[in-house]
């Protein structure tokens, strides 16, 4: 069962292709726009990184359909525990482009106060929970939030995103086990991009798929074409219905590919065959959606260059504003460690400020750059 793969976009049938349940023409257009915005944000951010204007970046080029198609199912009651490769989900949930760009710069207007490396977003209003670097930790947390929803009697779900590499982590096994035992309304979404930095999927698991692992935990596992935004929507929407009906968790494997480097510090040509890259470039999720929209009569001329230009202009404006914004003040270092500032931190802060007055502020090391 797990080896079947759900695909919706390309059909051999003539005439206007059918849309999955819950998807209307407007949603298709909206998802197209969100995927394109995610892509253009990545393009811009990678260039900013190369120019030394931001320190680091993680692109999700090629994986936009997984993030957008699944997050589009969420309502205001549902929660998201993402990894660093789901900016598309943040946008879909309504995160502000300017807030995203401020985070790249870690400046004083960044809602996370410059505390983390770029792409480690946190959007409370969108129930998009703060991202951390350690792989897999969010998976079991997603299961915990789902248990909390059950305890509160909510008809809602939590969705947690992770990569294929993360399926090797302890937290993957624990998360699936806990959710299955408690029948929690959790959707485990694996964006299987087939690589964990330089390690191919075959070094991660001997299972025939990721989805098949669900069986052993006692939950359904679904394999979906992760570059087909409608298929991703449909699989997630079915899992959401099960979750809301009290039928428990689902594991979804979105089969996709990381077109770009692991991060701005990685060089995939060292380890990845170029034929594989070319094969997957031909399955670009945005181009595939465009072809579908044309066939379905949903395409408008304004979706071409004018839309690209419009989105690029708003990103450029956000970059401009971010670059004009000051960096966080030294004293903010000590905020948010605890709810209140304990005496020892107040002492450390005061001594730092005193020292800045007498000896001058610490200087940023111009050579320091993230090496991987």
């Amino acid at each position: 069962m797990s080896q079947e793969m759900l695909t919706v976009l390309e059909t051999k049938k003539r005439g206007k292709p059918a849309l999955p349940k819950g998807v209307d023409d407007d949603l298709v257009r909206r998802m197209y726009r969100l995927m394109l915005t995610t892509r253009l944000m990545d393009d811009r951010a990678m260039r900013l990184q190369r120019q030394g204007r931001i320190g680091f970046y993680v692109p999700s080029i090629g994986q936009e359909a997984c993030a957008v198609g699944s997050a589009a199912v969420m309502t205001d009651e549902d929660w998201c525990f993402p990894s660093y490769r789901e900016p598309g989900a943040a946008l879909t949930l309504g995160a502000d482009l300017q807030a995203i760009v401020h985070e790249w710069y870690g400046n004083a207007a960044d809602n996370t106060k410059g505390r983390q490396m770029p792409v480690h977003y946190s959007f409370k209003a969108q129930r998009f929970v703060s991202i951390s670097s350690p792989i897999g930790t969010q998976i079991v947390q997603g299961a915990g939030a789902a248990m909390a929803m059950k305890i509160r009697g909510k008809k809602a779900f939590s969705i947690t995103y992770f990569g294929d590499g993360a399926t090797s982590s302890n937290d993957f096994h624990t998360g699936l086990n806990f959710a299955a035992v408690y029948k929690s309304p959790c959707i485990f979404f694996c964006s299987n991009n087939q690589w964990a930095i330089s390690c191919p999927l075959s070094q991660q698991t001997a299972s025939e798929s990721i989805a098949v692992k669900a069986q052993a935990y006692g939950m359904p596992g679904v394999r979906v074409d992760g570059n087909d935004v409608l298929a991703v929507y449909q699989a997630t929407s079915e899992a959401a219905e099960r979750a809301r009906a009290g039928e428990g968790p689902t594991l979804i494997e979105g089969l996709t590919f990381r077109i770009g480097p692991h991060s701005s510090s990685d060089d995939p040509t060292r380890y990845r065959p170029s034929e594989q890259l070319e094969e997957w470039q031909a399955k670009d999720p945005i181009a595939r959606l465009e072809a579908f929209m044309k066939k379905a009569g949903l395409w408008e001329d304004a979706f071409g260059e004018p839309l690209v230009e419009e989105i690029n202009a708003s990103i450029a404006e956000a970059v401009k504003v971010a670059e004009e914004t000051a960096m966080p003040a030294s004293a903010t270092l000590f905020d948010d460690v605890y709810a209140d500032l304990p005496a020892h931190l107040a002492e450390q802060r005061d001594r730092l400020l005193q020292q800045e007055k007498t000896a001058g502020a610490a200087e940023m090391d111009a050579d320091a750059a993230f090496p991987l």
């Binding site: 410059g114 380890y271 903010t332 090496p371």
Partner: protein, 324 residues
């Protein structure tokens, strides 16, 4: 003699010890074909094959648990944890298993392995690519904890660690991975674990430090010199076992002691050194023992340069001690 960076010296030690002892195996994430994300294991798989240098699934507890099993069986594994910030899933295997194997079995089973892991800040890596967790491990009986500050020591200490019959945490100061070069002998040599090094001789104030902070303290020493203050720098090289005599002797000479470390202050290893100095050299002290450390906050991103103890902060403490 080749001139190597600290990173190349680590690689050279691995190359040499794998040739010397076929029980030495290297495992971790991305250590095989890719040669490690920092390239510390570059070329090992090509030279020694996939049986001796291999990629693992993404699970640190798996990497260390596997290494414990291998070590108990008779190999000498050298697992890599890609960043020391990602070591925590393996914490149980390290502190409950590797550290206690010899003791709990009454010496029947041992766990000779070296956990190599880059640590420390200064690379704009935020919370999870910058921390200095050495104190957690120094606090665990049964583990040795080593951190080199120079390419020469990196190679010699790593070779000693691999030959050691107990588990060793080998922290590599990644900020200076490529920034300093030094003549490093070809072929295997040992730098003994448990022996500190006088990195700079001086008469007015002892500064005890380790890892990348040695370089920072050397900068501070140059600035101090311009102000007529002579700083002596002790590079611990090994935290456990600790060469107490090296810094006590220095403090008896200078009468002042500053301990500098990147890690947070509370329960950091700097506190351990300060306690030993107050216990054993109080009669020589002309000023309180001072700690220069990171703040007791998580490691930040944008304010990294404010967080990290720099030469200015070291110098301020030294001046305070000297003028006390």
């Amino acid at each position: 003699m080749p001139t190597l960076t600290l990173l190349q010296a680590v690689n050279s030690a691995l190359m040499d010890e794998m040739a010397e002892d076929e029980n030495v195996v290297v495992l971790g994430e991305d250590v095989g074909l890719n040669g490690g994300v920092f390239r510390a294991t570059e070329g090992l798989q090509a030279k020694y094959g996939e049986n001796r240098c291999f990629d693992t699934p993404l699970a640190e507890s798996g990497i260390i648990g596997t290494a414990v099993g291998m070590a108990v069986y008779g190999l000498r594994p050298v697992p890599e944890i890609q960043f020391s910030d990602f070591i925590y899933p393996a914490f149980d295997q390290i502190v409950s298993e590797a550290a206690k194997m010899r003791y709990r079995s009454g010496g029947e089973f041992t766990c000779p392995m070296v956990i190599r892991t880059p640590s420390g800040g200064g690379i704009r890596g935020g919370h999870y690519h910058s921390q200095s967790p050495e104190a957690y491990f120094a606090h665990t009986p049964g583990l040795k904890v080593v951190m080199p500050a120079t390419p020469y020591d990196a190679k010699g200490l790593l070779i000693s660690a691999i030959r050691d019959d107990d588990p060793v945490l080998f922290f590599e100061p990644k900020r200076i991975y490529r920034s300093i070069k030094q003549d490093v002998p070809e072929g295997a040599y040992e730098v003994p674990i448990g022996k500190a090094r006088v990195a700079r001789e001086g008469t007015d104030c002892t500064v005890v430090t380790w890892g990348a902070m040695v370089e920072t303290c050397e900068k501070a020493a140059k600035q101090a010199e311009e102000k007529g203050i002579s700083m002596e720098i002790i590079d611990l090289r090994s935290l456990v076992p600790l060469d107490e005599e090296a810094f006590l002797e220095s403090v008896r000479k200078t009468g002042r002691c500053v301990v500098a470390s990147e890690a947070p202050r509370i329960c950091g290893f700097a506190s351990e050194v300060a306690a030993i100095v107050s216990e054993k050299a109080i009669e020589s002290l002309e000023a309180p023992v001072l700690r220069v450390t990171g703040f007791d906050t998580p490691f930040p991103y944008s304010l990294e340069h404010v967080y990290m103890p720099d030469a200015k902060r070291v110098l301020a403490a030294v001046e305070h001690a000297v003028n006390f």
